[in-house]
Symmetry: C2
Subunit: 298 residues, 2 copies
Amino acid sequence: METSLQVKIQNRTRDIEQIIYSYLPEETGYQKTVLAAMNYTMKAGGKRLRPMLMEETFRLFGGTDRKQIEPFMAAIEMIHTYSLIHDDLPAMDNDDYRRGRKTAHVVYGEAMAILAGDALLNYAFETAAKAFQGTADDIITAKAFRILASKPGIYGMIGGQAVDVETEQQQIPFEELLFIHENKTAALIECAMMIGAVLAGASDEEVRVVENIAKKTGLAFQIQDDILDRTSTQEELGKPVGSDEKNQKNTYVSMKGLSAAREDVIQYTKEAIDAFDSLHRENAFLRDLLRDLSGRKH
Amino acid sequence: METSLQVKIQNRTRDIEQIIYSYLPEETGYQKTVLAAMNYTMKAGGKRLRPMLMEETFRLFGGTDRKQIEPFMAAIEMIHTYSLIHDDLPAMDNDDYRRGRKTAHVVYGEAMAILAGDALLNYAFETAAKAFQGTADDIITAKAFRILASKPGIYGMIGGQAVDVETEQQQIPFEELLFIHENKTAALIECAMMIGAVLAGASDEEVRVVENIAKKTGLAFQIQDDILDRTSTQEELGKPVGSDEKNQKNTYVSMKGLSAAREDVIQYTKEAIDAFDSLHRENAFLRDLLRDLSGRKH
């Protein structure tokens, strides 16, 4: 059962990479180095979880027009990727490797990595804007655009990242840690699923339920991340473990303890699945995927 | 005559700052430091030339709906400002001062300056998206959005900036210098004026003429910048001169010589004004402003 889900996920990842790659810029012209730096990081692998959740939520609400959803799928992966490039910079986390590959600033230099990150963030909006057709459908696309422009920003992902950077090696209240997790991690998952729902024509009430599903899933996902960093081995995880402790990072585990953290993963996951079931819509793969995200081992 | 134009410009700058400030985020919440870093740089002064050109082009084509244009005026200034924050970073130009004030990374640290730049770029799109109303007007707004998402990006401003960074202290062909000037400087001026035209309902043909006016104006502006860096005094310019030579930068003056550069400023300005007059539309202030930009002493 679990194996079969993993195979399905791998297949979806492969399909989504085809879509994303079709939206990447060609590496030609005077600016080809920065274009190469953008594509280098976009092609660094990963599950492509955010576009996957977007597309499956689109399907959940009966969406079918691929020309409308695909630019947004590529766009959200560009936003996720630019955030990784900038997070890895020497002035930030100073990571030389990610998923076993050298990071952008190691390969292309710091200036080019800053610009490649800027370029990917900007290109995300340029790519999503390709969904505008000059017809009445633009009203729906504009609604999706507003979500794409808000959830990754200062009242979402960047806000969470800024507080995370600023409070490293400081004692913070638990509410502030929740703020970081909700914004740094959950906001982009909310963004993905809400855009899928909006583009498929979901009602405002349904979009609010989707936002809640995504928030709970994002929190469970991030807490599980904190747990794995403490309990997993480098072999299981495919990356060094114990880095949170080493960097004296505030984590769910360091603040609430391992067993309470595990209980909260179960609780948030249950709330996400209950909210999903309350929609009375069918997408067995998405339902399994949401459950799998928090129970994952890597 | 020239004095009276300068007074008019100062008055317009003051009005535009009111508009821009009304779109800046409040400095509250856990993420208040990064919000303060954004606003610190947004409030650092300058002529607010890009929103000014946008608004005056909007007027040129009879635009009146301020709710439609104002979010875009704020947005383009946010994009200009993020590019300054990132340009000044230690990994880029490493400038500690701009317009006599400490730069963002000096005041807030490098990590926060990177994030404040990211946040302003993202917030530009979030702000412009406020112009979407959920009505048929969104079709026009979407057209402006596509321009806002393309001209500052990899095939515009960032592209030019990347090539400029990469070719510092290298010999390059003259065509490559033109590419840098057209993209790093002119693209954002094109963006401003084209959005003003589109939002006022200009035809595609008129928008193309506006793009050409803006490109020629942007080139004249940048060449004049190169000339002033060589010929002006620190007192006249209000900033250190000779920095291009010191940094061994490729400039129009170093490649074509001072007298050819001066001729080309006159030629590009003439082409811009001729194109402007070919529109047969009235905005005497905009016409004077376009001429003034290339003839300026500071």
